[in-house]
């Protein structure tokens, strides 16, 4: 309880935006968008992300990086100005349908960028499927179903599927000779999908999946001590976990205080050590994770992105910023391809499907089921940074089971 209310679009911004357009353009927006191009009616990008609560920083970084990317390209999408309409998703699934409807129906947006939370994303798909002219770009939420059973022509993802983040480390655990493995995540969809992907990767690499014991902790509890006692009693060869944000900081510190990492090494999904290593301190050293980006990636695009992000926001870049940045790139490329014609939905979808993005994480393409085909890196925390050990899996594609696009 107690997540705060609507940060919403500021009314002032909306009025300012409306005042900036000419009377002609204002009249034109009432007509189908195809006729409005000449008058340069703004393209409306709805942003439905958490701006309060535990995920607030994710929402902020995604938004700022996306706006930074589009601003660097002249603040235009396909030659038309952009109007951002921000709405606080509060990472609250029960409010998702209402919020998405506000943007899609109430504000008539051309794109919806969001959300962070998978539960919110799944609820939003119900709205999106009834609005085939509006395109949803998911800059974080990793629920597998989004680009599997629940996939739709107008739903794209620029981040990852939960399966993608964790499948590669299953094989890595086997290659490192671990036989008895404990997995631990929050008892919710993302955690379950990641833990299942670890088992799948482990089995496909030749490991015996009966050696894996799955433990769960109720979401969003962070009192890990009872589970650590249980892990110590099980005495596994290795432990793999997925937590993020405050939970990740607390778990890593609790683990280091309770269990000798040299005796039972700790592995995780990249989010465990993403933007959290400073708070985790010494306790994070040596943790091995997989992820589609790392701050130590040596590409010029990554270095420029990180420097620009820090200049623009005063904060350190993180993977959420990367996903926001690539979301910006995707919108730019797609709208350039159709010359800013938001009415040409099928052409926009086609160009998004064929997009090759060269972003901070490296090159990636869109799969048939609208999820990035991307490199997954193997990383180890050294002196507070995620140092790249190599590729955990090159150009990994989500199987997209159940998607018929």
């Amino acid at each position: 309880m107690g997540k705060s209310g609507n940060s919403g679009t500021s009314r002032r911004r909306f009025i300012a935006g409306a005042a900036a357009t000419t009377g002609l353009a204002a009249a034109a927006t009432a007509l189908p968008t195809r006729f409005a191009i000449g008058a340069k009616a703004p393209i409306k990008v709805g942003i439905m992300l958490p701006f309060t609560g535990t995920y607030a920083k994710l929402g902020e970084n995604i938004t700022d990086a996306m706006m930074m990317r589009i601003a660097a390209a002249g603040d235009m999408l396909g030659g038309r100005p952009v109007e951002y309409i921000k709405l606080d998703s509060e990472a609250a699934p029960p409010k998702a349908v209402d919020n998405a409807t506000k943007l899609v129906k109430g504000r008539n947006v051309d794109f919806v960028v969001g959300p962070v939370h998978s539960g919110v994303a799944m609820a939003m798909t119900k709205v999106m499927k009834k609005a085939p002219k509006t395109i949803m770009v998911v800059p974080n939420a990793g629920a597998n179903q989004l680009t599997r059973e629940a996939c739709a022509p107008n739903i794209f993802r620029t981040s990852f599927s939960n399966w993608q983040t964790s499948y590669p480390i299953g094989g890595e655990l086997h290659r490192r000779g671990h036989k008895k493995i404990v997995t631990l995540t929050w008892n919710y969809a993302a955690g379950k999908q990641m833990a299942e992907a670890v088992s799948e990767g482990f089995a496909n690499a030749g490991g015996d999946p009966s050696g894996i014991e799955n433990l769960w902790i109720d979401f969003p509890s962070v009192s890990f001590q009872p589970l650590l006692t249980k892990i110590a009693a099980i005495k596994p060869d290795a432990v793999w976990v997925f937590f993020s944000g405050g939970g990740a900081v607390k778990f890593v510190k609790d683990y280091a205080a309770a269990i000798d990492k040299k005796q039972i090494p700790l592995y995780g999904t990249g989010f465990l050590t993403e933007g959290t290593t400073k708070a985790q301190g010494e306790a994070a050293e040596g943790i091995i994770t997989t992820m589609h980006w790392a701050d130590t990636l040596d590409f010029p695009t990554n270095k420029t992105f990180m420097a620009d992000f820090e200049t623009a926001t005063g904060r350190q870049a993180d993977v959420f910023g990367v996903q926001g940045y690539d979301t910006g790139s995707l919108l730019l490329l797609a709208m350039a391809a159709v010359g800013g014609d938001t009415g040409a939905t099928s052409d926009i979808i086609k160009s998004m499907e064929n997009t090759i993005v060269a972003g901070p994480r490296g090159g990636w393409t869109m799969s048939a089921n609208h999820n990035p085909i991307q490199d997954i890196y193997l990383r180890r925390v050294e002196n507070g940074r995620n140092v790249i050990l190599g590729l955990a899996h090159a150009q990994l594609e989500d199987p997209g089971t159940g998607c018929t696009l």
Partner: protein, 307 residues
Amino acid sequence: MPPPAKKRGRLFIWHKHMELSFYLIQALNGVQYGFLLFLVASGLTLVFGVMGIINLAHGSFYMIGAYLAYWLSAMTGNLFIAVLLGLPLSIAVGFAVERFCISFLYARDHLEQVLLTYGLILIFNEGQRILWGNDVYGVAIPNWLSGSITLTDTQSYPVYRLFISFACIAVAVGLYFLIHKTRLGMTIRAGASNREMAQALGIDINNLFAAVFALGAGLAAFSGMIAAPVEAVYPGIGENILVVSLVIVVIGGIGSIRGAFAGAMMIGLADAFGKTLAPDYASFIVYGVMAAVLVWRPQGIFGGSPQ
């Protein structure tokens, strides 16, 4: 090849391979967590019992404590100096909140108190965002408390967790003496059991209420401060603890410090064993305990006999 389906969904998982030490350490975990919960819940129950105020912003004081511990220990380099500086600061905030907000609501009903204190949560959260941003912070454990005690060949127990328990015991004992052996305590007890009679006997209710509210805020902030090194300091930290604290207050009986202690221990132990023995029902267990207690004693364990 798909992984074989794990056996899940059983109500209890009895670990044949677990030794007695597992259950003993689990009990230690539960008691340790219970002490911390007691410290937070005691302030909440005190404010409710004496003043009749439902203070939803109680968790915000926990949050303020945690952030002050981070901020002041980063500046001074020492957690204890941070606590010494931060505690008067948060008590002052509590005092100000009582004087400028809560004091106008004594004659109103609970719904309006809920509305006001919920509003305070939003204001405090926004203040936190403005002052410290949305980052997650860690707080360093003081060097002399940073060690671990070896319990089994695979598990050690951080000294700082034991220290938290001792600090909580010390505060609990202090609270007991304050309430049972001092004049202030006597007036608090009087105010809790019969406000009109206490007023009629010449007790200055205004000052008493301000003191009690500041004390409650101080208890929550102190919990947040000493928990900061083992918790991470992050946005929303106060809300999580508020919900559990409300459950504890209801279980223990509204206004009863003794009840808060019993409730906190029950929830602490239920959490520790529930998480490991019935993981699928762990999120329900806290509320299950509450429901069971309320069926047995609708007024809470020690409800109706304010202590």
